[in-house]
Structure formats: C-alpha cells, structure tokens
Symmetry: C2
Subunit: 126 residues, 2 copies
DNA sequence: ATAAATGCCGTACCATGGTACGGGGTCAAG
DNA sequence: CTTGACCCCGTACCATGGTACGGCATTTAT
C-alpha cells in the first residue's frame, strides 16, 4: 500500500501530476480512510500505462478512452484508435523527416560558403 | 500595399495570428498613417518565413532568434540553431517510429486474436 | 448615401499538460 | 515536544500557439 508520494516516485512522475491525472479521471482517487489515501499495484500499473501510452503519442483524452476500453473489452475500438494513431504518427514522421532533410541540406550549404547571405535564412524567405 | 487582412490571406493565416506575431515581435507593426496599417512584400516574406520555420519544427522563440540572425549575418549561430534542431528532430523521429512500430505490432496481434484480453491494452499494463 | 466589410485596439479566452502555493493535518524521530 | 517530512485540498499560475469578442473608426461596394 502506497501513499501518493510513493506511487508518484514508483512511476517517476510528480505528486502534482498524479493529482492532475485524478482530476482528469485517468486515475482513481481512493477513499481517504482517516486522511491519507492509499494506492496499490493497480494504480501503479494504471499510471505506468498512462505514461507509456503518452510515449506512443496518445493524448490524455485518448488515453482516457483506452482505459475505458479495457473495461468493455472492445478490441475493435482499440484497433481503430491504434490505426488512427499509427496514421497520425506516419504523417508526423514524414513531416519531421522533410524538415530535417531540408535543414541538413541548408546547413551543408551554409557550411560550404561562409560568405554572402546565409542559405538557412534565405531559404525561409527572409 | 496590403492591409492586414490581405497579408493574412496571402500567407494563409488568420488576421488574429498576424496580430499575435506582431505582439510577439516576430512581425513589425507598420505605422498607421491615418488609421489603417499597410504591409508590403517584406512582410509577406517574413510571415511566410515564420510558417516555414514552424514547419521545420522551430518554436516561435527560436524563429525570433533566426530573424535576428538575418540582420547580423551570423552564419555560425544559424548553423548552431540548425544543428540543434536537426538533432532534436532526429530524436523525435526515432521516438515516433518506435511508438508507431509497437502500435503496429500490437494492432496485428490484436487483429489475429479477437478473443481474450486486447494486446494493445495489455501491453500498456492496464 | 448607406450598409456591409474591414481595420484598430485591448482584453479575455481556449486547449494541452502540467507545476506551484498556501493553509491546514498527521506522524515519527530526535 | 518540537521540527521536518509527508499528506490533503483548493486554487492559481505557467508555457505554447493561437482564437474570439466588443466597441469604435474607416473603407468599399451597391
């Protein structure tokens, strides 16, 4: 049985973050039997889930839905969310790759010619 | 000579966004000679620059610095910013690729076995 | 000439994901 | 028996990147 501080430490988040997730309905708020609330392994798992799903690019709102799916065993919807997220990730990856590639190109040009206008700045149209 | 509305339209942003950038010091606020402010090609170029640099993942604060570099012709600093941005982009790209790959894997597993617990949700530790 | 569309300006508000603060309570060690 | 380290709760605040609103002036089209 953990206090909020131990729970937070176990998942490497701040105490305030735990409370924030509680307010958002992502974590349950155990009843306070005489003041201090107690948390168990389920809470640790849940909190770790939130952080992992966040790392996979899900927003807190989406994570809330994923948590709900667990109860309903709704694979279909879970796959749907996963597919949507995969597509969004692919779009974003391509965007970032393009940004990286053009910046690389510009940095190389800039390196090659130190006089005259800076290609990096030029390219953006300044 | 453009009004703020035309400028915004020319760069496909909202009027409020232009004003927001002005407040942030990213765009100049021309003197209002008798009420209506007028904008020129420089402003169009500058505004487009902001949007392109944003697409390259620069924050508005970084963009402010890039604009400053234009005046000082500071290639060194520009390259520094570009390198920093490239590195950040690469880190982010790898993170997103990992997220995508694990989601793909999970979606495939989930697809394969429609009974039992959902691997997508399981994997996150719910 | 008049009504609709813009412009100006200041201020407030939005979402997202937290972080901080202040006042109070409880508990264990020194 | 007091000091310090937690806890609780509510509320305010932060950064980021905008978006909206309201009142008033001006401009543009009919």
């Amino acid at each position: 049985m953990l206090t909020i501080g131990k729970l937070a430490a176990a998942c490497d988040v701040g105490v305030e973050t735990v409370r924030f997730y509680q307010r958002k309905g992502l974590l349950e708020t155990p009843s306070s039997e005489g003041g201090v609330r107690h948390y168990g392994n389920e809470d640790v798992r849940r909190l770790r889930f939130i952080r992992k799903a966040q790392a996979a690019g899900f927003s807190l709102a989406e994570i809330g839905e994923l948590i709900g799916l667990d109860a309903s065993h709704d694979h279909t919807r879970a796959r749907e969310l996963a597919r949507t997220r995969i597509e969004a990730l692919e779009v974003r990856i391509r965007e970032l790759q393009q940004a990286r590639d053009s910046l690389r190109q510009l940095a190389a040009e800039c390196e090659a010619d130190d006089s005259g206008p800076c290609p990096i700045l030029e390219s953006f149209g300044v």
